[in-house]
Point group: C2
Chain length 113, copies 2
DNA sequence: TCTTTTGGTATACTTAAGTATAGTAGTTAC
DNA sequence: GTAACTACTATACTTAAGTATACCAAAAGA
């Protein structure tokens, strides 16, 4: 194992740690797709609970992945805005979508046989 | 949420499900980097236990991500070989390495301030 | 007035993922 | 003969992640 591979593995594991669970990437994707409000994001990700969404959003704000803007009109309006840091995940997310798409095709092919 | 976003989310979640835990991507990376034998892969990923490696390799074989070749010389030699399916993850892995690298730089910058 | 919507929090629980540690059977090196 | 390596499996346990459910206050709509 040469030096490069050690550094690559470290970068890889950092990213994986950052992605963490099941929901962060879908949330990033949703926000980058233009969803801004809590219920809007929630509806865009079937199956997520308010608890998980709430926790993730808080954590993501702390990690500078998004900005939480509160507009104190009545009723109060809360919007989550992606940062550049969040958008920098775009390539990973696109690649994941591509992979998932072609993987599904492979599975479908197998099922046809 | 239009049709496209539903399909994208599905692809994304499929991929995330496939990646699963903490170890699969590092294992794929290791094997694609040329590591072939059990102990070789194990040593290339500090912290992994034989149990996790064993489980993952088995699961990955079942999912056609790799081929397990047994050479019945004495002593028996076992080699894990990546399939095209595994290599197709290359883009995701590269993007993750890139992200991890630049994220670390960002963190280092912050620490310097 | 009653229901629904918004933007969440609190509590309790389950399950999946991962860790720690030991052991197996065969082989080779000293 | 004993220590170390290969390629694992087995058992027991911990912890983190996720689920289920209920609830809150304020506002708007029917």
């Amino acid at each position: 194992m040469d030096r490069d591979q050690v550094e690559e593995l470290r970068s890889l594991q950092d990213t994986l740690y950052f992605i963490g669970g099941k929901w962060r990437i879908p949330i990033m994707n949703s926000i980058c797709n233009g969803n801004r409000r809590f219920r809007e994001i929630e509806r865009s990700i079937p199956g997520i609970t308010t608890r998980m969404l709430s926790r993730e959003l808080k954590d993501m704000e702390a990690n500078k992945l998004l900005k939480r803007n509160v507009y104190a009109d009545t009723p109060v309006l809360v919007e989550y805005e992606p940062t550049e840091h969040c958008r920098s995940f775009g390539n990973i997310i696109s690649e994941m979508i591509n992979w998932g798409r072609s993987h599904r095709n492979v599975v479908v092919e197998r099922e046809d046989c």
